[in-house]
Amino acid sequence: MKVLVPVKRVVDYNVKIRVKSDQTGVDLANVKMSMNPFDEIAIEEAVRLKEAGKATEVIAVSIGVAQSTETIRTALAMGADRGILVKSDETVEPLAVAKILKAIVEAEKPDLVILGKQAIDDDSNQTGQMLAALLGWPQGTFASKVEFEGDKLLLTREIDGGLQTLKLNMPAVVTTDLRLNEPRYASLPNIMKAKKKPIDEKTPADYGVDVKARLQVLKVTEPPQRQAGIKVESVEQLVAKLKEAGVIG
């Protein structure tokens, strides 16, 4: 079984971003970039399937600027076998990402695609569902457990009320939630080994996908800031303040 894992290069989750003063976007100059945390979970799951003898090959794909190669190298250091970089300096929206991934799936014929449930920059939470739709495959989103039962996938999902279990036909698209696994740190020898693993370089045009944006970003602004409040000295004072504010009692 081949597993394809799309990995996105995003601003590191620890960075507090700044909105540009001309309102055209977010200032990404000299900001630390990392693999989207949900995609680390996706790579980890794929590599564990390989270690368990269920997967034969794990392919990491990234769509984005040239530096996305670093994100692919991270995936290779965690245990993926090879990479594909689809280079684009333009904004690639989830629908276009899904179309590129569909073309890659048709060429590589994986049995399973594991994505993150959302990228922590754009927070769209769309790409996996869109890819499943375009392929006519089932989708197991927000997964916290992935098992195999015969030729089917038994998948537990985190939903608003608790947990839901589905049985999916294969091939399938899975998107990861936080509790699926705890991703490993790449060891130094594996980081060295990853440098020798192959990465193919492509463009959206190679897959015949038009990446023209459907959404025009008119502006990006700061959210309203909260006023700093006060420190209370005791629980008694806290309760008095809350009564005064009319939120209790």
């Binding site: 569902q129 009320g161 839901q164 279990t165 459907r214 209790i248």
Partner: protein, 313 residues
């Protein structure tokens, strides 16, 4: 312009998220219809018909919609989409699951989690965990939108829409629902509660969350948690508040033993009044708290319970 709102429900009751999505949908202008897809959903359809601004309720009553799994629900929505200019759903785990699938089948770039309607094609949405607000204009002829329900008021229950039964669409038959393990609670749901008390890693154990339960019972509050508390197994996943959990905006949010990471703040910083109880006076949660109490929670929380008792709660 006609908009189709996909109802959120559990086959028995209409979730109040739908009333909020209807408010967002009316801002697009034109007619608003609601689709109730489920099994044995007469009561849900009747409730949807009462929402102000809704002119028609479509009911697809069929076993394949009993759990609103993505594949059949998206297929149904796509089969109806020809008559609509916009398709709108709540950004719940149901909406986030089926809506992008429907959007891709319609070749539409979805707009996720809008917080404001500027024009029928222009919307505001948070990005980077709510640290920036993007204004986007959709160039697609049809719109597929999910709505962050905390920012829209619920539509009034003064309507009287017609109810029309429709047939099921062909079932794609790709997946099968097996089971659900839902958290049972008599307390209000996190996303609709007026008061929330949340615990973090500082709680140290699931047992200690009972201290928060007691306060919640006095205040009629829901209980939430940080990711760290969920990861540690103190409480189930559906308690998680944050960028990648639930977004809440109650009148009062009490954070206990929570440091205030960006990802947690993303889910609660629009609450009206925020209280933080933390023993570390440098904790970032204090930067958003209206009332901060620097104290050991193991003393402060029982004291809070007592103090609330004194005022008759």
């Amino acid at each position: 312009m006609t908009t189709l709102v996909i109802a959120e429900h559990n086959n028995q009751t209409l979730h109040d998220a739908t009333a909020k999505v209807v408010t967002a949908a009316t801002k697009l202008g034109g007619d608003v219809h609601v689709l109730v897809a489920g099994q044995g959903v007469d009561a849900v359809a009747a409730a949807a018909a009462k929402l102000a601004g809704v002119s028609k309720v479509l009911v697809a009553d069929d076993a394949q919609y009993a759990h609103r799994t993505a594949e059949p629900l998206a297929a149904l929505v796509v089969s109806l989409a020809g008559s609509y200019d916009a398709i709108v759903a709540a950004a719940t785990t149901v909406g986030k699951n089926f809506a992008p699938r429907a959007a891709a089948l319609l070749d539409v770039q979805q707009i996720s989690e809008i917080i404001e309607v500027d024009a029928p094609d222009t919307f505001k949405r948070p990005i980077y965990a709510g640290n920036a607000i993007q204004t986007v204009k959709s160039t697609d002829a049809k719109k597929v939108i999910t709505v962050r329900t905390t920012t829209f008021p619920a539509a009034a229950q003064t309507g009287s829409a017609s109810i029309e039964k429709i047939g099921a669409a062909a079932n794609p038959g790709l997946s099968e629902w097996v089971s659900e393990n839902l958290t049972k609670s008599d307390r209000p749901e996190l996303t609709s509660a007026k008061i929330i008390i949340s615990g973090g890693r500082g709680m140290q154990s699931g047992d200690n969350f009972h201290m928060l339960d007691k306060i919640a019972d006095k205040l009629g509050a829901a209980v939430g948690a940080s990711r760290a508390a969920v990861d540690a197994g103190f409480v189930p996943n559906d308690y998680q508040v944050g960028q990648t959990g639930k977004v809440v905006a109650p009148d009062l949010y009490i954070a206990v033993g929570i440091s205030g990471a960006i990802q947690h703040l993303a889910g609660m910083k629009d609450s009206k009044v925020i209280v933080a109880i933390n023993k570390d006076e440098e904790a970032p949660i204090f930067q958003v708290a209206d009332y901060g109490l620097v104290a050991d929670l193991f003393q402060a929380v029982p004291a809070l319970e007592q103090e609330l008792g004194k005022i008759g709660l």
